[in-house]
Symmetry: C2
Subunit: 235 residues, 2 copies
């Protein structure tokens, strides 16, 4: 049975890394003492070691040991033997490129489908969707494919932002971008605001946190869903 | 001799489409009565016809006839015979995908290098750079390559936005994104604020408009340049 947390962000404004969700992670990771961390997304271009140390600092508070996948010889074996997995945020293009390069996309999907708990934040959440086509990130490297894990039957847009009514900027709003996505693709997109996450338990998908999320379905007006709404039928 | 305008945006806040730059375009397009328009970027997913009509409306004011490349049988021939070319904004991934699909990337480069005037706005400006790796757009389709026209020896970031000091959002700032780009790439990036454009005359590249632009060079602190600064040595 799948156990997945798909979080919009790792960090809330003026809060510590993973601080807002740490209580939740205590129960989510209750059967794991060591978490395999995938630092490939490299936020701000930091090294895998620096990123792993930052994550270890946060998880010390709940007594979890973190192992960076880059420190192990065989990444496929590392995935297959993991007690629990965390894929951190950063740049989704860099992350997906490395997942393909290290040939771990399929092993990762299979391991999570077997029931190994998976936490994703931001880029690590994007890859839970069918494709990475709804990332907000800059395409700083070119992965071989935009196809991702498909652990849920729709796409994720993390860090979802409502249009700013006072903006004088002509760049596209997030809603316009997702509308453009639906000119070429049909799968639904969940806009997860910072502080929200999806909890996947087997075939049940539930919106968690205190905020509404925005759902974009092909050829439908976008709509809001409340916390604790189940999304099992969205596809 | 190359004649290119690389504009950050088509439209300023509370202004008409191309309104802020129309006077400039009178002299830029003085030798052309017909402009070949490339509507491939499809802003908000609008059709090629609707986009072309919008552009025709704007260019009526300066007595130019617009022909959408999608209305012609042979796009390569259309490029080769063009008196002048305008590539409009929208989604850079969609634009680049169509440039490759219609096999016009190389003919377009050659035609512009021969001296046919080229106006680009937003996505149409991104493609003037070496690659599209510094677009702000959502990757809603996957082009075969991120390599673009290379009409200038650096990358463009249109709609450049300064960080908002009041933001409580945890998504990356534009500067952070470009910093991440430089973790994997070495070419300079010009952040063009809305209302700015680069004017290319042969080998001379000049910042135009009333605003400063922000230059990001690999392994250097970013810096501002004033209007009328020449960028001939940036590479």
């Amino acid at each position: 049975m799948k156990h997945i947390i798909i979080a919009s962000t790792s960090t809330l404004h003026e809060s510590n890394y993973l601080g807002y969700i740490l209580d939740e992670l205590v129960s989510f990771f209750k059967d794991a003492s060591t978490i395999l961390f995938i630092p490939y997304a490299r936020p701000s271009g930091i090294s895998h070691d620096d990123y792993t140390n930052k994550v270890q600092d946060a998880f010390l508070k709940i007594n979890k040991h973190i192992v960076g996948i880059h420190t192990l010889k065989d990444p496929v074996k590392a995935i297959k033997n993991a007690e629990a997995i965390f894929v951190g945020g950063g740049n989704t293009f860099v992350l997906v490129n490395q997942l393909y390069k290290n040939k771990i996309l399929t092993p990762l999907k299979e391991t999570v489908e077997k029931g190994i708990p998976y936490l994703g934040t931001s880029a690590g959440s994007n890859v839970c969707g069918l494709t990475m086509n709804t990332t907000n990130d800059m395409p700083i490297v070119q992965p071989p494919s935009f196809k991702t894990l498909g652990l849920v039957p729709f796409n994720i847009n993390p860090h979802y932002l409502d249009p700013d009514p006072n903006s004088k900027h002509n760049g596209e709003t997030r809603e316009t971008r997702i509308k453009e996505f639906h000119a070429f693709n049909t799968q639904p997109v969940i806009g997860l605001r910072e502080g929200s996450w999806l909890e996947v338990n087997g075939s049940t998908i539930t919106l968690k946190g205190h905020l509404q999320a925005r759902v974009f379905e092909h050829n439908k007006a976008p709509y809001e869903i409340d916390p604790n709404t189940q999304l099992d039928n969205l596809k």
